[in-house]
């Protein structure tokens, strides 16, 4: 299997979850100056305040989402801007930008993918009462990290 075809359908031996986790940890460390711990997703119930979405198109198709409680998004904004971050708009903006950087960092770590995969600008959904439906089959992987003891879910949903 060549590197070119490899990223279209990740096989079990090409597990991308560790890459997604590393990409996430690096963004938190560089932008917020903190080392986030991985949590078991089943142990932490996510109160869906905001969900940021960044689309992937080209060689890699799908979406990267980042979901956390409203208060946690506010803490992320404060971590990025300091105490001047005080609005819901800044929390939404910060979450969208974090998701964007995680998606970008993830694809840049996949050999051969970054050249032929484009990112969308981020969008952010408010509220947790929604379900995500992909119109084509695919795979998904999720990592949940604890930021300030609150869970933040980062999910990669791929379309085959």
């Amino acid at each position: 299997m060549t590197a070119v075809s490899a990223f279209a359908k990740p096989s079990p031996e090409e597990d991308w979850l560790p890459i997604l986790e590393r990409a996430t940890q690096e963004v938190f460390e560089i932008m917020l100056g903190c080392q986030v711990k991985r949590a078991e997703s089943s142990e932490h119930k996510l109160a869906g305040g905001f969900t940021a979405i960044v689309g992937l198109a080209g060689a890699l198709c799908g979406v990267v989402t980042m979901c956390c409680a409203t208060e946690t998004a506010g803490q992320i904004a404060k971590g990025m801007l300091g105490d001047t971050a005080d609005s819901a708009g800044q929390a939404v903006d910060a979450l969208g930008e974090m998701c964007n950087m995680i998606a970008g960092n993830f694809k840049n770590k996949l050999a051969g993918t970054d050249e032929r995969c484009l990112l969308s600008v981020p969008s952010v959904i408010s509220g947790g009462e929604y379900r995500f439906h992909s119109l084509v089959e695919g795979q998904s992987m999720e990592t949940v990290v604890l930021f300030e003891d609150a869970p933040v879910s980062i999910r990669l949903q791929l379309q085959n």
Partner: protein, 128 residues
Amino acid sequence: MDKITALIVDDSSVMRKIVERSLRQAGIELEKVVEASNGAEALVALQSNKVDLILCDINMPVMDGLEFVRQAAAMESAKGIPIVMITTEGSESHVVQALTAGARGYIRKPFTPDQVKEHVLPVLGKKQ
């Protein structure tokens, strides 16, 4: 170092503030900061502001950063203004496109203040 006017172009207001803070942490004294949320707004801002430095994202709505750099390069009022891209797009082809269009530097997000210093001071002709 003389005070400068910086044009920061990013669709994220949070990121614009982080870039501004990083410039100050790099020891760059800012007379004024002009903000734009996309390339089209940045072109308008260039017509009404005397700018010494441009920091620009790539993925933005309305007009992306690469198109902005191409159009700015053709503007008489923007001639000689150093442009540094700050973007999540880290591919070699994006770097080449940006530099070919006229950008003088390229910083990948996520970035540290030290990386901003490392890439911005040289294009301002300053030693680190």
